[in-house]
């Protein structure tokens, strides 16, 4: 079995790192090896962020590569477009259908990419309104866990293991909300793939 590469991309502050932590806990819970690589520093100030999670029976390199990601989970539409070269030939993309404009676009100095969602749709990316789903499930801050729910449909990790990973990582008061968000993400995928 080869090493699986999951790329989590987004904008600083969106919760990519805690999502990666939960994913890694689930992977370990499923008895596999895992490495998580993240870049700190300037990411705190609203820049693009990338976290790489690699897992399998044995994991060597901790980075992703052009054409190497099996799954890309993007927390934002423009970052999904930016991550496309990382996607492997048979890879899949899960994208939060939210657009956050970078400073250059906010002030009209550069335009936003046209037809971003259509482009991603045409590529076979799975777009979901994760912010909205999180809000409906009870807590808008659980958007990242909604995306993990969607991701769980693409990975061979038992649901109980995911639940344990979430419960062990999020603040105790928010466990229920996060589990609800996880299942809402799963159900959304099930509903559109039914």
């Amino acid at each position: 079995m080869k090493t699986t590469t999951v790329l989590l991309v987004g904008v600083g502050g969106q919760g990519t790192i805690s999502a990666a932590d939960i994913l890694a806990r689930a992977i370990m819970g499923a008895g596999m090896q895992v490495k998580i690589s993240e870049i700190h520093g300037m990411s705190q100030r609203g820049g693009s962020v990338t976290t790489v999670v690699r897992f399998g029976p044995e994991v060597k390199s901790m980075v992703s590569d052009l054409g190497a990601a099996d799954v890309i989970v993007s927390f934002e539409v423009t970052e999904a477009l930016r991550a496309i070269p990382q996607l492997s030939e048979n890879g899949s993309m899960i994208v939060n259908a939210e657009e956050i404009k970078p400073l250059t676009a906010l002030t009209g100095r550069v335009p936003m990419p046209e037809n971003a969602e259509g482009y991603l749709n045409d590529m076979g990316a799975l777009l979901l309104p994760a912010n909205e789903i999180a809000l409906k499930a009870g807590n808008p801050k659980t958007m990242n866990v909604v995306l993990l729910g969607a991701l769980s449909k693409r990975l061979d990790i038992p649901t109980e293991v995911w639940e344990e990973a979430i419960s062990g990582r999020v603040p105790p008061k928010t466990i229920e909300a996060n589990l609800a968000a996880f299942h809402a993400g799963r159900e959304y995928i099930a509903s559109i793939e039914a």
């Binding site: 993240e38 901790m62 970052e79 496309i84 070269p85 250059t104 906010l106 009209g108």
Partner: protein, 574 residues
């Protein structure tokens, strides 16, 4: 098994080895190491004013018999190089381990440099863990090596080791007894009479290390098909093992001194021998000096930046997976000063003044980016103040724009202070702005002498910044509110138009320090789309032609910086 980053594993290894003292100056990618160490039981840890001071405190603590961990980023080693080179003469009493965390690819640094060169130049052994588990075990063992050979030991990390979490098995803490201190001037007083014999001791030690390194289990051969042989070290090994699964690999855990015999034997065991390293020639040159012939990958390895399995395969002309090109119409997303950042108005006004701004290292380096574009230079910690002086010297007698140095509070404490002393001493002119946001913000809000917060929350005192600057002999020292546009504008104007040296201390806490904010602002229909609010570079403000400005309610922290610029009273609270 638990998941630990390389940094966390290094802290754990030091703790398990019985280290009781930790010293550091924060810097990405090293920072969390000391933060994690500081939380362990039975340790004392502190932020020092800079890396040189940290390494010296460490030498003192080692001399006093404790096991000590010092941590810093690669450019911090430049600052600490002076004590490091001579600590390699004095040697240690308690084991002394120094983390040098490199940043190939420059994710959060002003340059990429290879700390191996320091180890070789200072004659200090360097260990190269390749993952978190080795980071823990190598660090733990490094204290024994340090005491056995009477020398500090460097642990060399890189961003992909420091910031990669991987499974680790943690152990118990060793019951280490602090060694007794005994006066020994010939070992610790490095004046020529004593340093000369210590140099001989050092040469004997090098020979002993060279013998030890041949047997050291950290230098490990991973058998392959014998056709391609690769010598590599650190996190780079992981890329090599994945990119070239059939290769025989000599994975070096000690990269100075090198095991020359082991390298020669490995060279004999393979058809072609390669060295793979990241953005450096250190290992290549050092291996060549062992007298073996190296082959070069057919397409060559990149001389800069990070490696990856794909980059290595491309260098060897091997097949790589296809990928889809990126769209070319994507807007970049560089980091920006946060909404409400107290530095924003200062940079906007410096930009209006068209001042020549010598900048420094910290969040405020982001003031160099559009639309503020208010920085002309940034080189190293403290350079803003000294470079402003040099710029004034070169421009003297010409009709030039005002020269203004901009430096943060922590950076000023790190080394800006000694620059300012030199400027005052040499009767320098110009304007120095100290952006005192009461913290070391960029690396994650560490304490510093000017906010009086210490690493383990021990009581301290805030150093009186204005009193310090006045005591240096600066007559024009002003403490100002950077959130008040008229105050910033008037003071920058008067300070830059006077011939005297002025120090303007802009004091307001980093916006991230306080989670509670006043009500956000909103744009009313008085907006004329003039666009001035968009020129301050606030991520909460957007501007759409024909529709005017808008403020993102969830991002706005109610600082009111933009409303002070609006000439039509169109930005109001609520």
């Amino acid at each position: 098994m638990i998941l630990l980053s390389g940094n966390e594993a290094i802290a754990q290894g030091a703790w398990e080895a019985g280290a009781t003292i930790g010293v550091a100056y924060p810097g990405t990618p090293s920072t969390e190491t000391m933060e994690v160490f500081a939380k362990k039981e039975g340790v004392y840890a502190e932020w020092c004013t800079n890396e040189k001071v940290a390494v010296e405190v460490g030498i003192g603590a080692s001399c006093g018999g404790a096991r000590v961990l010092a941590t810093m980023k690669h450019v911090g080693v430049n600052v600490a190089a002076d004590p490091l080179f001579t600590a390699a003469y004095t040697g240690v009493n308690g084991g002394y381990v120094i983390l040098a965390a490199d940043d190939p690819g420059m994710h959060s640094s002003q340059n990429e440099q290879d700390s191996h060169y320091y180890a070789a130049a200072a004659h200090v052994p360097v260990l190269d863990p390749s993952d978190s588990a080795e980071a823990l075990s190598f660090t733990k063992d490094a204290f024994d090596i340090s005491e056995r050979f009477d020398v500090p030991v460097i642990i060399r990390s890189s961003v992909r080791l420091s910031h990669t979490k991987a499974p680790v098995e943690c152990g118990e803490r060793l019951a280490y007894e602090t060694k007794p201190y005994e006066k020994n001037a010939s070992k610790w007083v490095m004046m020529p009479a004593f340093a000369k014999p210590r140099r001989k001791v050092q040469l004997e030690r090098i020979a002993a290390l060279e013998a030890w390194v041949e047997e050291c289990s950290y230098n490990q051969v991973i058998e392959g098909d014998g056709k391609i042989g690769v010598i590599c070290a650190g996190a780079c090994y992981q890329h090599v093992a994945e990119a070239l699964p059939a290769a025989s690999i000599l994975k070096l855990g000690v990269t100075w001194p090198l095991p020359a015999k082991k390298i020669a034997a490995f060279a004999d065991s393979v058809e072609e021998l390669y060295v793979i390293e990241e953005g450096s020639e250190y290992l290549t040159q050092a291996v060549k000096a062992c007298g073996v012939n190296l082959a070069a990958p057919v397409n060559g390895l990149p001389a800069d930046g990070e490696l990856s399995p794909r980059v290595i395969r491309e260098a060897f002309g091997l097949e790589v997976p296809p990928f889809k090109e990126s769209r070319t119409d994507l807007p970049g997303r560089p980091p920006a000063l946060c909404p409400g950042c107290p530095h924003r108005i200062v940079f906007k006004e410096l930009s209006r003044l068209r001042a020549i701004v010598t900048g420094d290292i910290g969040c405020y380096t982001l003031g160099a980016l559009a639309p503020l574009s208010a920085m002309d230079t940034c080189v190293d910690m403290g350079a803003s103040v000294s470079m402003a002086h040099g710029m004034e010297l070169a421009l003297a007698g010409t009709d030039h724009k005002p020269v203004v140095a901009v430096i943060g509070d922590s950076t000023f404490g790190h080394s800006g202070l000694s620059s300012l002393i030199s400027t005052v001493y040499n009767q320098g002119t110009g304007t120095v702005c100290i952006l005192d946001n009461r913290t070391t913000a960029m690396t994650g809000h560490q304490g510093n002498p000017f906010n009086g917060v210490t690493l383990q929350n021990r009581p301290s005192r805030e150093l009186d910044l204005e009193a310090v600057v006045k005591a240096l002999g600066v007559e024009d020292v002003r403490v100002l509110d950077p959130n008040d546009l008229s105050v910033v504008r008037e003071n920058l104007k008067s300070a830059t138009s006077s011939d005297a040296l002025s120090v303007l201390i802009f004091r307001s806490p980093c916006i991230l320090l306080d989670k509670k904010h006043p009500a956000p602002f909103a744009v009313t229909d008085k907006c004329t789309s003039c666009g001035i609010c968009a020129t301050i570079g606030c991520p909460a403000i957007s501007l759409t032609e024909g529709f005017g400005a808008a403020i993102n309610h969830t991002m706005c922290v109610g600082c009111g910086h933009c409303s002070q610029y609006c000439r039509f009273d169109a930005i109001v609270r609520g």
